[in-house]
Symmetry: C2
Subunit: 239 residues, 2 copies
DNA sequence: CGCAGTGTTGAAGCATATCAACTTGGGTGG
DNA sequence: CCACCCAAGTTGATATGCTTCAACACTGCG
């Protein structure tokens, strides 16, 4: 059930059998959410953290004028709110962007891990730090890349992250967002997103049809995006 | 020497005397950097993490065309690269924006903390999570706030963060960045920054002269920024 | 004294937003 | 089973926020 999480952590360091078992035993009570449903509400104090087993979810904040900014995208194997364990209170909401299957880890059990399993603790810490590295890359993309490059960068990132958890199929992956949601990720208008996507498609860089993204020219896509996957820390290393 | 760090952590939870002593004992070999000097290089693997005792520092990435994006600002009491402890390799550089005084914590000592002091471990983890929360707020500001509101938001954030470590004086605080650096923080051009700053000054919201920012109308500043300090987690709570 | 980095200003151009209309397709109730 | 309905996608026109370029002013420092 938590295979994607094990792939995620396991691609950054070696997990002992004991650590795997511990993770399996604390991740319980799996639940389904429909697309559009809130998985965690802004301002809440969840007593557990949520692991995404399948589907796409997003962290977001809503502005006074009703506009929305998505600050993170999550896929299978991601904890969507592990940070709420030390942080306690959610300063943003988390919404399911597709049908989502999740499991929960009680904060008491996580605390017990920090008391007795220092290596696993560091790996969980690492997991939240990779989220932070992704945040920084998004800041760079929003501030200093063209919107075209920002889009290309996001596609690169998703492709690599989904490869880690074996959610790609050749050069394709499921991508169930609407253009409206995608615009909220990028911080641009839907109209402009639509036109820029068409340009990238016409250029033969990638396509996005039937909720599926297919990369046509990976070299060129990386070039446009100035993509360097280093920030994703995808290499086994003692931590 | 590490008073600012203790104020930082101490405003989020109670620190035991033992924890304080441990932090004091592992933070050693203080060093100075001049404005403009790199404190940590991109791609390096520092065997220690760096605590900023005094001054302003920034995390940044440089694009192929030479433009730069600053992804985080750090002030006294901030670890500038605590994340490098589990992450290992720096995916970005860290530069001193003013004269900086720093201290170092060896990664071996940090590791020992994760083995024996779970509560202190959670507080260090928390410290990196607050960085993440700030990242998210910057993403929101870049994506869905006007540049004017983004600037206002940054001023609000800095004021509150500096209050925590007692680095404000009434409604003022030292702010030694150039407009060029500030533009790299916001992801905009210097020209536009300059004009927007003047508008805010003319409106009587805040001033920025002689490396000092003075807030003239705090209410209005928060209103323009839609500022809510919740994301900074400034409340004592068992973690 | 003179230079270099910073701040300021104006003009012109472009990227992106906004507004509005129209198309398409899947889902549903009559 | 068809009609229609609504959400999503697409397109064109217009408006504007922000960038770029270029020139000039200011100030601290060697």
């Amino acid at each position: 059930m938590i295979e994607a999480l094990l792939l995620n952590l396991g691609s950054r360091d070696v997990l002992s059998a004991e650590e795997e078992n511990r993770l399996r035993s604390i991740l319980v009570k799996d639940r389904h959410f429909a697309a559009g449903e809130d998985i965690v509400a802004e301002g809440s104090r969840p007593p557990y953290s949520t692991l995404l087993l399948d589907g796409f979810a997003a962290r977001y904040k809503v502005m006074a004028d009703g506009s929305r900014q998505i600050t993170a995208l999550h896929v299978a194997g991601d904890f969507v709110d592990l940070h709420a364990f030390p942080l306690r209170k959610m300063d943003h909401g988390i919404v399911a962007l597709s049908a989502c299957h999740v499991a929960f880890a009680d904060h008491g059990d996580l605390r017990a891990i920090t008391e007795r399993m220092p290596h696993l603790t560091r790996l969980l810490w690492l997991d939240t730090l990779i989220d932070g590295a992704i945040h920084r890359e998004w800041i760079v993309a929003m501030g200093r890349r063209s919107k075209r490059a920002q889009i290309a960068h996001l596609v690169c990132e998703l492709f690599v992250r989904l490869q880690v958890v074996k959610r790609t199929r050749g050069e394709s992956f499921q991508f169930p967002l609407t253009q409206i949601e995608m615009a909220d990720v990028l911080g641009i208008s839907v109209v402009h997103l639509n036109k820029t996507l068409q340009a990238l498609r016409r250029e033969g860089v990638f396509t996005w049809e039937n909720r599926t993204i297919t990369i046509v020219d990976w070299e060129r896509l990386q070039e446009i995006a100035e993509f360097d996957p280093a920030y994703l820390s995808i290499h086994k290393e003692p931590r």
